[in-house]
Amino acid sequence: MIFLTRRATFSASHYYWNDSWPAEKNEQVFGRCANRNGHGHNYTLEVTLAGEPDPVTGFVVDLKWLKDVMEQEVLSAWDHRHLNLEVAEFAAGKLIPTTENIAIAAWKRLEPVVTTAGGARLSRVRVYETPEIFAEYRGGL
């Protein structure tokens, strides 16, 4: 089994807010991240696929294909967007765009495409909010 990882970056803004809480609790729990004007990050998205190299091409999957899938499924929807205001998963009353939830949402976008294509399975999605802060999702395992 080979694990293959492709990395891409996207830039987006967000804020943390739970509508079922009063403003004071949001500010207490989320601190500066609760500023309703939002703030932004340069995110790094790492997508890891697991599979066996094809005996003819030596590829687990074509990296160009994976790049295009990441672009179409994730970056085109998230890059240079306000996650709370412009991305369906993070609309008011849905998921708070924490790094954990961004990793899960990226998995949900990528997993059906990778699975349908066959040849490799999605093993791990890692999202770096900064070089020191990241979240990872492995499909709930």
């Binding site: 809480w21 849905k94 924490t98 802060i133 979240a135 990872e136």
Partner: protein, 140 residues
């Protein structure tokens, strides 16, 4: 607010500067030099270690978080960084009977942090000794 997504992981990287000397009391001086090379030099040497902590658990539906980062920072600071940063690892009681290799440092950090991120659990400690080598402990 959240569906049940199972386990997700939150990771954080910290910097820790410390010195050490690799020397096993059970080996002769020649054997130590042969085994550890430059790392056996008598007066020790230092590294800027990167300590990467990975905690796993359910995403809290109210906060969207596996673990509160400020609480994680405080746990890591009080249990690990305050203990090891700008110290000589060989002088720490944890390394009296074990050589402060980065393998053993990653195990020691895992033991110090284990249970500290409830309700999330410590999934992995990675210690990067330099940009070119790192060690991971998953508690197994």
């Amino acid at each position: 607010m959240n569906a049940d997504y199972g386990t997700a992981y939150f990771g954080r990287r910290y910097l820790l500067s410390a010195s050490h000397r690799l020397h096993a009391d059970a080996l002769t001086a020649e054997e130590n030099r042969a085994t550890y090379g430059k790392c056996n030099n008598p007066h020790g040497h230092g590294h800027n270690y990167v300590v990467e902590i990975l905690a796993g658990g359910e995403v809290d539906p109210e906060t969207g978080m596996v673990v509160n980062m400020a609480a994680m920072d405080e746990t890591v600071r009080s249990r690990v960084l305050d203990r090891f940063d700008h110290t000589n690892l060989n002088l720490d009681p944890l390394f009296v009977n074990r050589v402060p290799t980065t393998e053993n440092l990653s195990k020691a950090i895992f033991e110090l942090l284990d249970g500290g991120f409830a309700p999330a659990t410590l999934a992995q400690v990675r210690v990067e000794e330099t940009e070119n080598n790192f060690f991971e402990c998953t508690g197994d």
